[in-house]
């Protein structure tokens, strides 16, 4: 077995045996890592809370055939405000689950890692209303699912923005929007999120546009993943 170092965000954990856990993480240079942490559930474990979901850690791991084994872990960031606030925690769970679903085992994706870390930092410091929607659009774009937002995906006309159908490829004009109508404001937000104008988008305060953008983003993610996110289904935790 070989040793390797990486920085990683802990995405999810599962109990294993008496006192171990399997931890799923997004490594900066390793892609999705799945590793065993031995004895982590014991109160005297030297890992303590370092490998709880949401932690950003510096890792030393043994490479295994199927599962790696965590040898050492040091905390880089805890995101403590997020851990202690239900609304932030709901958003963090959606971010972590979406990332866990799209990240590939052993396929390095430093850009995805940087996006997730940046989003978690913004969530921790400001918790803007538009964060979840804009994150999911950026995530989909990074994974190669960028919708067409300049012209209608049916007729190619760029005259009006009236609807949106992610499965069809993106924006729809007035004539082809049918039952899939969306507000021009929400479509503008999606477009700006995809174009990297996140700073401006995140300034949008709680309004119908925020929930519309979020719903469209979650529907698009559902099309890509072919299932809805569990953390959204149990969203009663948010209220």
């Amino acid at each position: 077995m070989t040793l390797y170092r990486d920085s990683a965000v802990v995405l999810r954990t599962w109990k294993l045996g008496e006192s171990d856990r399997i931890v799923s993480m997004l490594g900066e240079n390793s892609g999705k890592i799945r590793a065993v942490v031995k004895g982590v559930r014991k109160t005297k474990s030297r890992f303590g809370s370092r490998l709880e979901p949401l932690s950003l850690v510096s890792l030393l791991c043994w490479k295994g055939r199927e599962l790696d084994v965590v040898s050492q872990a040091e905390t880089i960031e805890l995101f403590r405000e997020t851990r202690e606030d239900l609304d932030r925690l709901y958003k963090a769970n959606v971010i972590l689950e979406a990332t866990e679903q799209v990240a590939q085992d052993g396929y390095p994706d430093p850009e995805l890692f940087r996006l997730v870390v940046r989003v978690l930092r913004v969530l921790e410091s400001d918790n803007p209303q538009m964060l979840l929607g804009s994150f999911i659009w950026k995530l989909l774009s990074l994974q190669g699912y960028r919708p067409q937002m300049t012209v209608c995906v049916v007729c190619g006309s760029g005259s009006s923005r009236a609807g949106f159908d992610f499965a069809a490829g993106g924006m729809l004009c007035d004539e082809h929007s049918g039952g899939k109508r969306s507000s021009p404001e929400a479509l503008d937000v999606i477009s700006r999120s995809l174009d990297g104008q996140l700073a401006q988008v995140l300034r949008i305060e709680n309004s119908p546009v925020v929930s519309e953008t979020e719903v469209l983003a979650l529907q698009a993610l559902e099309v890509v993943l072919e299932r809805s996110l569990r953390s959204v289904r149990s969203s009663i935790i948010r209220h």
């Binding site: 303590g48 809370s49 709880e52 239900l86 569990r230 935790i237």
Partner: protein, 199 residues
Amino acid sequence: MYTQSVQALIDELGKLPGIGPKSAQRVAFYLLKIDKTDALRLADAITLARMNSTWCRTCFNISDSETCDICLDLKRDQSTICVVEEPKDIVAIEKTREYKGLYHVLQGCLNPMDGVGPEQIRVRELLTRLGNETIKEVILCTNPNLEGEATAMYISRLLASTGISVTRIASGLPVGGDLEYADELTLGRALEGRRPVGP
């Protein structure tokens, strides 16, 4: 390969947590080798435990009757409820001999990533119980991990308007552990929860 009854035993043992096919085979052959009365005693213990055990209808702990011994014990402090995730947590707390109140077992914790919401755990039963009984304090004793903390935050939010005192079990360093190995979150909370010493 094996006789039908032995294969059935291996298959059933293989369904137990942490027992793989090879371990199931090993345990099955051990049971076939030991004295017949010892094997039957094990079978009886399983049958009795399974047939007689039920959930206490008040606190949802494991019980031999409709109401568990803890809920029936009137010497215990009837004004405090300690909320735990699993019945085995009650055993851990009872071993401390520090707590003399009642319990409520949630039978799980909120885990959004596994789709476990408040409907899947015994939160509604806790609220009903608090409405009926004269409870003055609820101690949230869920595990100090992300899911346990979320569960505690959720329940404390639900109870905010009831006037009942809601407390959370303290976080800190394990006795006998080394400070240098403590993680930042635990050590930070231990410092936050420090208390005066001396006369």
